[in-house]
């Protein structure tokens, strides 16, 4: 299987997880620190893969892997702070658009990547598609309801942009570092060690008294909703599968191209929403106008063209 097909499957799974995440964020875990903490902690479940290839990478590579894991947590934290200060759709648009750009720059800088003209065209179309989709998230995509959940203050625009850029910076470093880790190490081993890094950084959240209290209180609340906790860990399992496939695609292919494909995840979300609106119109109150529909179609076409150029 090629890296492209693996990446497509990965983003399909991650789109499903995205829908579930929205449900979790609203119903079970009310705090971003708690969510970051749980994502970081639960990421360590990949240790179950240890018998299938975990190796001691040596101290140098261990530190490198752990550092890459830290970048992920840093990206996640910056993202949630950005979401807290600003409007979710804007934050996601910025992050969705900037991560591939930073990743391309870093991959040229640190990995010596070179792209063909077809790949550059693919990147262009994928980015356009991603940005269009992200802008539409304002009111028409399930997880944009997040915005009602955070404070949305227009006068914090600059801070939001800085935080979103910071988040993108960390995520891009994470991805390029991840690729670098996969170049010289067996996939499973590097994948696990990086998650150990994220796990350790999630533990750091417990150091601050305020965040510790927030996390413990949130966890206490969630205890009374056992079913939801199961859903949380269920989606985390699915998320881990998606993330693993996404990482495997990175290991096999170009990290810049895999991250550029993130728009595909939003495209799948759009399709889910459309299907959901048709099947369950009462639950998903989507207001599909011709204008919105045309935007969605344009975005999906752009992503489709991007995919076409990638597969050439």
């Amino acid at each position: 299987m090629t890296w492209l097909s693996i990446a497509i499957i990965a983003y399909f799974i991650l789109a499903i997880v995205n829908v579930a995440d929205k449900f979790i964020l609203e119903k079970v875990v009310p705090g971003p620190r708690t969510y970051t903490f749980l994502v970081g902690i639960s990421g360590v479940v990949v240790i179950v893969l240890a018998p299938f290839g975990l190796i001691w990478p040596g101290w140098d590579m261990l530190l490198f892997n752990v550092l890459i894991g830290f970048f992920f947590s840093a990206g996640l934290m910056s993202l949630y702070y950005a979401l807290k200060k600003g409007e979710a759709s804007r934050v996601f648009t910025l992050v969705g658009g900037i991560v591939p750009v930073f990743t391309i720059l870093f991959s040229i800088l640190f990995l010596g990547d070179k792209f063909s003209s077809n790949q550059w065209l693919a990147i262009l179309f994928l980015l356009l598609g991603t940005v269009i989709i992200s802008w539409m998230t304002r009111s028409h995509i399930l997880w944009t309801r997040l915005k009602s959940w955070f404070d949305d203050s227009e006068n914090k625009k600059v801070l939001v942009i800085v935080l979103a850029i910071l988040s993108s910076f960390f995520f891009s470093l994470f991805w390029v570092g991840t690729k670098m880790a996969y170049i010289t190490q067996p996939f499973i081993s590097a994948f696990i060690w990086i998650r150990v890094g994220t796990f350790l950084s999630a533990l750091l959240l417990l150091i601050g008294k305020h965040s510790r209290q927030e996390i413990f209180q949130d966890l206490k609340k969630s205890k009374s909703k056992k079913n939801n906790v199961y859903i949380f860990f269920g989606t985390q399992g699915l998320g881990a599968t998606g993330a693993m496939l996404q990482n495997y695609a990175v290991a096999l292919g170009s990290v810049a191209l895999v991250t550029s494909l993130q728009g595909l995840q939003y495209a799948f979300l759009l399709i889910f929403t459309l299907v959901g609106t048709l099947l369950l119109p009462k639950v998903i109150k989507e207001n599909i106008t011709a204008r919105i529909l045309s935007k969605k179609v344009i975005a999906i076409i752009f992503i489709g063209i991007g995919l076409y150029f990638l597969s050439k």
């Binding site: 010596g112 010289t184 067996p186």
Partner: protein
């Protein structure tokens, strides 16, 4: 009586302890002067009282043999248990059971020295001894029947009576069909087979140590002899050989590869290694098993790579090593070959297409070779791997690495490689498009 394990140190070329887990059949291979025969010599030396035999005395020799005795032997010699360790250290021999040690007295010396037969050139010529042993085989009808059956399997027309070794025409002896023949007229191969089979099936000798049993034998005979050895179920066999015919996927577990370096003689075998034996049986064949008799193995992905590499090595390789090019049928199969080569300490190089860098097979390979590298780019990684004899074509596959004029559109990749292997000129070999292949060949 069988030896289950042997430890040898400070004997002839063995300067560091050599430990071998032994089987019913033990096939010892290695270059000339590597110390193959020294392993047989060491066992013989330990089991024979050196004062009465014409051995050079190795005062420092430290040899340990783990024995397993049959129920009959245990009863006959009144041994307390079926397992014991025989030690030769500082010239002192003793047999140690769990709770009892038997000193090397005349009885023990007699038991041990008569338990094995060393079949070297001298023994093959000792017709009196062979004749005596042949006569005594008639005391064991079951073994005699097996011997005759096996001899007939090798030489269908020849039958042997009790006086088979008698060269007097007037006595009843050997028959080729209806015709009376004598052993001295029948060819050295027959004599060799006759003697080898005699001792393999002779119950008095529970261990047979043979030096190069393939000498004078046609390859088909070697295969039959191997079959006879594998199915004799009579005793333990040790032999040294230079014949690849004895190496099959099945006998791989019995293989001991002997190597001599600055540290003296060292041995390598599958032992308890976790190589998937079933996979080896699937992958190994008469051609690639030659890897055990070469100086260096070059592992390539496919048939085109093998053909072109072989041709280029034959024509342009300036080194003195004997090189064997083996195709692994894909990069996913490289690891099983690499594991096998590592276990037997056979030097090797790996050549992969560029897309290997995009697979986990390469990382598994790198991990298996215990190569630990810091974070780096793919280009640096490929460069670094050359130090470990892993070459990745940085510009694609084999076809991207020799001039297009040798690759006709109507030809398959294999046919192009075949033609190019014969017709690439020295000028083209030294040209820029062949830089990668030239670099590999020059580094071999």
């Amino acid at each position: 009586m069988t030896i289950t394990k042997v430890k040898i140190n400070l004997y002839k070329s063995i300067k560091k302890p050599v430990v071998l887990d032994l089987h019913d059949i033990n096939i010892i291979i290695g270059q000339n002067n590597s110390g193959k025969s020294n392993i047989l010599d060491a066992i013989e030396f330990a089991l024979t009282d050196s004062k009465t035999e014409s051995h050079i005395y190795y005062a420092k020799a430290d040899i340990e043999l783990d024995f397993r005795f049959t129920d009959n032997e245990q009863l006959k010699y009144e041994f307390p248990t079926s397992e014991a360790v025989f030690n030769l250290k500082k010239g002192t021999r003793e047999l140690t059971f769990d709770k009892k040690t038997i000193p090397y007295n005349r009885t023990l010396a007699s038991i041990l020295s008569s338990s094995f037969k060393r079949l070297n050139e001298r023994a093959f010529l000792d017709t009196n001894q062979i004749e005596n042993d042949f006569h005594s085989l008639f005391n064991y009808p079951e073994n005699l029947a097996k011997f005759r059956e096996s001899l007939q399997h090798h030489f269908p027309k020849v039958s042997a009576t009790e006086n088979a070794l008698d060269i007097n025409y007037e006595h009843e002896g050997l028959y080729e069909g209806e015709r009376r023949v004598t052993i001295d007229r029948i060819g050295s191969g027959f004599r060799r087979i006759f003697t080898t089979l005699l001792y393999i099936f002779h119950p008095q000798y529970s261990m047979v140590l043979i030096d190069e049993p393939e000498i004078h034998l046609h390859p088909a005979m070697v295969k039959k002899l191997l079959w006879a050895m594998q199915n004799s179920q009579a005793g333990q066999i040790f032999f040294t050989t230079h014949s690849p015919l004895f190496i099959t996927p099945v006998t791989l577990i019995q293989l001991i590869r002997v190597v001599k370096n600055e540290e003296g003689t060292q041995v390598f075998g599958l032992g308890k290694n976790n190589i998937n034996h079933q996979r080896l049986i699937q992958e190994l064949n008469a051609d690639n098993l030659e890897m055990f008799f070469t100086d260096k193995v070059i592992l390539v992905e496919g048939v085109s790579d093998r053909i072109l590499l072989r041709g280029l090595i034959d024509r342009f390789y300036k080194g003195h090593r004997d090189l064997k090019v083996i195709e692994t049928h894909g990069k996913g199969n490289m690891l099983i070959f690499v594991k096998l080569l590592r276990v037997f300490n056979i030097p090797f190089a790996v050549i992969l297409d560029w897309d290997a860098i995009k697979t986990n097979h390469l990382r598994d390979l790198v991990y298996n070779l215990n190569i630990k590298l810091p974070p780096m780019t793919e280009q640096e990684f490929m460069q670094e791997l050359k130090k470990f004899d892993i070459y990745i074509f940085p510009n694609g596959d084999l076809e991207a690495n020799y001039p297009r004029k040798y690759q006709q559109r109507e030809d398959s990749k294999t046919l192009s490689a075949l033609k190019a292997a014969r017709s690439i000129t020295e000028h083209d070999f030294n040209s820029k498009p062949m830089f990668n292949l030239r670099e590999i060949i020059n580094n071999l």
